[in-house]
């Protein structure tokens, strides 16, 4: 499209030059002939300047520092830099944006002025109506020379990902059941709920991890002894947010609200996050507000599931019970 526009500009310029040529031939005056020479030479300078300027042109983006909650308006800041002396560059940035739960490949375009020696900022404002991961992507910038004879493509990757947090909704006071049946424990975070402080040693039980065996104590006791760590917060609950396609926001709001409520009551919990692509679960331990945010980021990074998640969980963790299901319909104790 840009190249087509260039052609239109070139045609109009050629027509203008032709008119001046006729005037020059008609009058044979220095004025018209010099004007003609200028018109002939100018495009070369324009294209050279455009090529030079495009190499010194870049656009970066920065996300807002504050947390964005659904319903908020926020702004993404584009930093436009033209370090060359060439002014009047017209730069076209094509970008797409969407909520991760509502993919959309529509392309939006913004035309900005690439003035010389300028580091400029503009803000793209967005409004949200549902939680999810907001993505903004732009890969190429098209830079046209001042007279628009040629458009240069500048490789410039922009990727902005902003979590849009769910709003807090009232959660009914229900008695939460404690979880029974430890899933595969792959706690990654050191700040997780299992600390390095050993609370006690106990005999080995089936299912204990090998790395928890206290070898010295086992040797002394002549039986396998297992370390049991101190927990900062007791993680006695397992939350299973079920993010079903088309109804994501309800589950997210309930999960976030319930999480906040539980943390307010000093109740830590674990969250099973479903990965629809691999059909597996991974777990987050939540004992603080930041953990809750992290867990929701993780949830929102995953796409929504087409089917119910609970049967999948039970299939992978048979014998478990006391799972707190967070469905679009509400909170269900199992």
């Amino acid at each position: 499209m840009e190249h087509f526009k260039n052609v239109l500009y070139i045609i109009s310029y050629v027509l203008m030059t032709a008119v001046v040529l006729l005037v020059a031939v008609f009058y044979r005056q220095p004025l018209a002939s010099i004007l003609l020479v200028f018109l002939i030479v100018l495009p070369l300078f324009s294209i050279a300047a455009g090529s030079y300027g495009s190499k010194r042109f870049s656009v970066t983006a920065s996300a807002p520092p504050e947390q964005i909650t659904e319903g908020d308006e926020f702004r993404i800041r584009l930093h436009i830099r033209n370090t060359s002396f060439v002014p009047l560059l017209r730069c076209i940035i094509r970008y797409t944006y969407s909520n991760s739960y509502r993919k959309d490949d529509r392309t939006f375009t913004i035309t900005v002025a690439g003035e010389s020696f300028v580091s400029d900022h503009i803000n793209l404002s967005f409004k949200t109506s549902m939680p999810g991961m907001f993505n903004l992507d732009a890969s190429d910038i098209l830079v046209s020379d001042p007279l628009h004879f040629r458009t240069f493509k500048v490789k410039n990757e922009i990727h902005v990902m902003i979590p849009v947090m769910p709003s807090v909704v009232p959660v009914p006071d229900i008695v939460l059941t404690q979880y029974e049946g430890e899933p595969a424990d792959d706690i990654l975070s050191e700040t997780g709920e299992l600390t390095r402080d050993i609370r006690q040693l106990r005999e080995y039980r089936a299912g204990d991890r090998l790395k928890d065996i206290h070898w010295k104590a086992s040797a002394a006791a002549q039986e396998l002894m297992v370390k049991e760590y101190e927990r900062s917060v007791d993680l006695m609950y397992m939350l299973l947010p079920e993010i079903i396609k088309g109804k994501e926001e309800r589950s997210l709001r309930l999960y976030y609200s319930l999480g906040k409520k539980m943390l307010a009551q000093n109740m830590g919990f674990r969250t099973a996050i479903y990965h629809p692509g691999e059909k597996t679960f991974f777990y987050c331990n939540v004992s603080s507000a930041s953990d809750l945010d992290e867990s929701i980021y993780e949830i929102m990074r995953e796409s929504a599931s087409e089917t119910e998640v609970y049967p999948m969980f039970m299939a992978q963790n048979p014998g478990s019970y006391g799972i707190i299901r967070i469905c679009p319909e509400g909170i269900l104790n199992t």
Binding site: V25, Q29, L31, R90, E115, H121, I122, F126, K127
Partner: protein, 828 residues
């Protein structure tokens, strides 16, 4: 972000939040769309907001200046070119103020409506109050311009317009201010509203053609202003940073265009962008000014070469200057009646058959009675001027007719009231207020006896031969050719001899031409008579009469072109028989405009002026009119010739047919471009050649400044940057983006690769030395780049020396290797 910008942003956001439940989104439809999008996508895009304020006032000011350049440049160009004293200071200030006021109208929506209404009212009031001054100033301008044209074309006379206010020091500046104001309004539309370079160019440049046409170049400074305006408008229109947000209610700096698959937001206002454009256009225009004015100005203004197209248009301009603007609009389809000697432009005649004259008389013969009104004297550019020659004191022709007189009553009901319609040999004519004339005349010249003294007769003959034998020089070739073809040459100047020539011509016309009321228009730039005789094989009475007049004059017979009405036997037969008060029977004939006629009258010594009918009879078989396309006009464009040559050589086909010389002619026509083009090409090549030197000089300047400030680290980094570029350019290393950490290794590898083939014993012992120098360079550069401590002067020097040594060694090895390879090839 500066404090001011932050404030601006906060203010903008605050306002937006206060006025709208959807911050930043306004408009009912917009809100509906947003809500739809929000529910469908969970997110929607809002406004584009710039951190910086738009500085609308700067944009207004700049646009005002552009309008001023256009308006004042044109007024100055016109007034200055024709030497009008127009009080430059006052006009300058007025136009500047009006340009800025006009531009500020586009500040926002409110100013747009209020401003335009106010501006038009004040313009109207000014025009009414100053009408006399404006009109007089305009007439003064026309008079001056006409005078320049008269001088340029060496014309006999020009139209002079009346200046009601004789004091030009008042009328001319006011007219200039008026003109400037009109331009401000027009340019405000073409610049502020549309930023249209083509319209801006047309509006301002076309009026200047009045000066250019007669080789007057307006002041170069004024042209520089105009070029500045054109360049700015051209670039701004392409960049798209020109619009003021009067029509973009919602967005201050960005406009949004919704598409099916997204939206386009375009930056519409950048005061800084406009400023850059303005700056560049100033530079460009100054270069233009210097190059065109100082370098080529003299050499070209003294060397005028005309072209055929211009010479053709000259003829029209001459008519315009002498006869006024209305003469240019005489290209029409006539409805009959008198043409007052104007022959050009009439393509066809369609009579309306309305009665023009009512003639009542008692005819004595069946001969055609010519009621003469207009008598043409000199022929000049498609027109016979009215005969104003006066013979003797009373102006009467010295003939005394002796036949039996007849009385005729002529009532003018629709013919041109400016004339009497008199039959030949009129003796007495009495007119009344109603346009009715009573005329006594002698009905037939065949029976006329002349009773006059010889002296009077001779004097009149002299007078006639002096005044009625003029023909334009440009028509001589075609007249000569036609006279030959018609066989008109006859030395006998008696009654019979002259009638013989006339009859030959009449016969020639009858055999070779046809009567047609739709003969087609004469092509632009060609003479009516010349075209009629050479190319057009048809015509009506006007063509035959005019051509006959000139042909007869060419062979020395005094002749005049006449217009009036012809009363033929056929009309008489169709007339109404009446009886007057005295019981005398008369015929009453109504003559319509279709009876209007043109004929030639011939002077026969002793007989006087005798009408002669040259027009062949009509058979009602009009053919299609031959077309004369625009290509015929354009074909002469590139056929360069000097003014005289072009004038003499009027046959366009000649230039085209001369195939071998066409190229030469085209080349000659663009020869004038070679010098400036050559100059520019040489300048560009020189500039390109000088770029590396300029860059080097800039770098050295930078380094010296850094060294002066004790900043050796930065100086070394600049030198290093240039050094790796040099290495990369010499293909000694792969890329100019080589990291300082691996530079040493790359250099050593390059050396090893070059010396691998052996035979470089003299160098191999230095290899370690060079490698260590490369290592030292890399090390120091790393320090300069990353260490908080500045490197010392001596370190800088040593590193530079090491760089040189390494480069020298690499180049030496490469040259030696190339030589060895060549030797091996030769040996093989």
């Amino acid at each position: 972000m500066s404090g001011r910008n932050t404030k601006y942003l906060k203010k903008e956001k605050m306002l937006s939040l206060q006025t709208d439940p959807h911050p930043g989104f306004r408009g009912r439809k917009e809100l509906r769309d947003r809500n739809k999008e929000l529910s469908a996508r969970g997110v929607c895009e809002g406004d584009i907001i710039a951190d910086k304020p738009p500085h609308k006032y700067i944009a207004v000011l700049l646009r005002g200046i552009l309008i001023f350049f256009g308006a004042y440049g044109t007024v100055w160009g016109l007034a200055g070119s024709f030497g009008l004293a127009y009080d430059p200071v006052k006009v300058f200030v007025w136009i500047l103020v009006m340009a800025i006021i006009s531009a500020s109208v586009y500040y926002n929506r409110a100013t747009f409506y209020i401003g335009y209404i106010t501006m038009f009212i004040s313009f109207f009031v000014f025009s009414v109050l100053m009408y006399s001054y404006i009109n007089s100033g305009f007439q003064a301008f026309l008079n001056e311009m006409n005078q320049h044209y008269v001088d340029y074309f060496s014309l006999p006379a020009a139209r002079v317009s009346e200046e009601v206010i004789a004091d030009r020091s008042l009328s001319v500046p006011i007219a200039c201010i008026f003109m400037g104001w009109v331009y401000c309004i027009m340019l405000n539309v073409t610049i502020s509203s549309y930023m249209n370079p083509a319209l801006t160019f047309l509006v301002t440049f076309i009026p200047l053609q009045a000066a250019f046409y007669i080789d007057i170049t307006p002041s170069y400074l004024c042209m520089t202003m105009l070029i500045m305006c054109y360049a700015s408008v051209l670039v701004l229109s392409r960049a798209g940073y020109y619009a003021l947000p009067y029509r973009y209610k919602k967005y201050e700096i960005y406009s949004r265009r919704r598409r099916r698959k997204g939206a386009d937001d375009s930056y519409i206002l950048s005061a800084r962008g406009m400023l850059s454009v303005f700056g560049i256009s100033v530079i460009l225009s100054l270069v233009f000014f210097v190059v065109s004015g100082a370098v080529f100005g003299d050499s070209y203004s003294t060397k005028y070469i005309s072209n055929r197209l211009k010479n053709k248009t000259d003829e029209y301009v001459e008519v315009l200057v002498m006869n006024g603007l209305t003469s240019m609009f005489n290209r029409y389809d006539a409805t009959g009646g008198l043409a007052h000697g104007r022959l050009g432009g009439i393509g066809s005649v369609t009579p309306d058959y309305e009665t023009d004259l009512i003639v009542t008389y008692a005819p004595e013969t069946s001969e055609t009675v010519y009621l003469r009104a207009f008598v043409g004297d000199k022929y000049y550019v498609d027109r016979f001027t009215e005969d104003t020659n006066v013979f003797g004191e009373g102006g009467y022709e010295p003939f005394h007719m002796t036949g039996e007189p007849v009385e005729m009553e002529i009532e003018n009901v629709g013919a041109d009231p400016g004339y009497y319609y008199l039959p030949y040999h009129s003796i007495n004519a009495v007119g009344d207020k109603d346009g009715t004339s009573y005329i006594t005349y002698v009905p037939s010249h065949q029976d006329v006896f002349y009773e006059t003294d010889d002296v009077g007769m001779l004097k009149y003959s002299e007078f006639v031969f002096d005044n009625y034998t003029y023909i334009p020089e440009s028509l001589i070739p075609i007249l000569d050719e036609t006279v030959d073809k018609a066989g008109m040459v006859n030395d006998d100047r008696t009654y019979h001899g002259i009638l013989y020539s006339c009859s030959r011509l009449e016969q020639y016309f009858a055999e070779n031409y046809r009567y047609s009321l739709q003969p087609g228009r004469t092509p632009y730039g060609r003479d009516v008579v010349e075209y009629f005789l050479s190319s057009q094989d048809r015509g009506y009475c006007m063509h035959y009469a005019s051509a006959s007049t000139l042909l007869l004059r060419y062979i020395g017979i005094p002749a005049r072109y006449c217009e009036g009405y012809a009363l033929t036997a056929n009309q008489l037969a169709g007339g109404e028989l009446i009886e007057d008060e005295n019981g005398e029977r008369k015929v009453r004939v109504e003559l319509s405009d279709a009876m209007a006629h043109a004929w030639v009258e011939v002077y026969i010594p002793g007989y006087g002026w005798i009408p002669y009918e040259m027009t062949p009879p009509s058979f009602g078989d009009d053919d299609e009119i031959p077309m004369n396309g625009i290509m015929g006009i354009l074909s002469g464009l590139f056929n360069a010739a000097t003014r005289d040559e072009a004038g003499a050589d009027s046959d366009l086909a000649e230039g085209v047919e001369a195939g071998a010389s066409t190229f030469r002619k085209v080349f000659d026509s663009i020869e004038f471009l070679i010098k400036p083009l050559g100059f520019t090409v040489v300048a560009v090549i020189l500039l390109l050649l000088l770029i590396p030197f300029i860059k080097n000089a800039v770098m050295l300047l930078k380094i010296s400044r850094m060294k002066k400030n004790g900043n050796y680290s930065d100086a070394l980094l600049v030198r290093y940057r240039s050094y790796v570029k040099k290495l990369s350019g010499s293909k000694l290393i792969g890329s100019a983006n080589v990291d300082s950490t691996c530079l040493a290794q790359k250099l050593t590898d390059a050396l090893k690769t070059l010396t691998e083939s052996g035979g470089y014993d003299d160098l191999s012992e230095h290899l370690d030395d060079i490698s260590s120098k490369a290592g030292y360079v890399g090390h120091t550069v790393r320090r300069a780049a990353f260490s908080a401590d500045n490197i010392s002067d001596s370190e800088y020097r040593e590193t530079c020396l090491a760089m040189k040594d390494v480069l020298k060694a690499l180049r030496t090895v490469r040259v030696k290797k190339a030589k060895t390879l060549q030797k091996n090839v030769e040996t093989v």
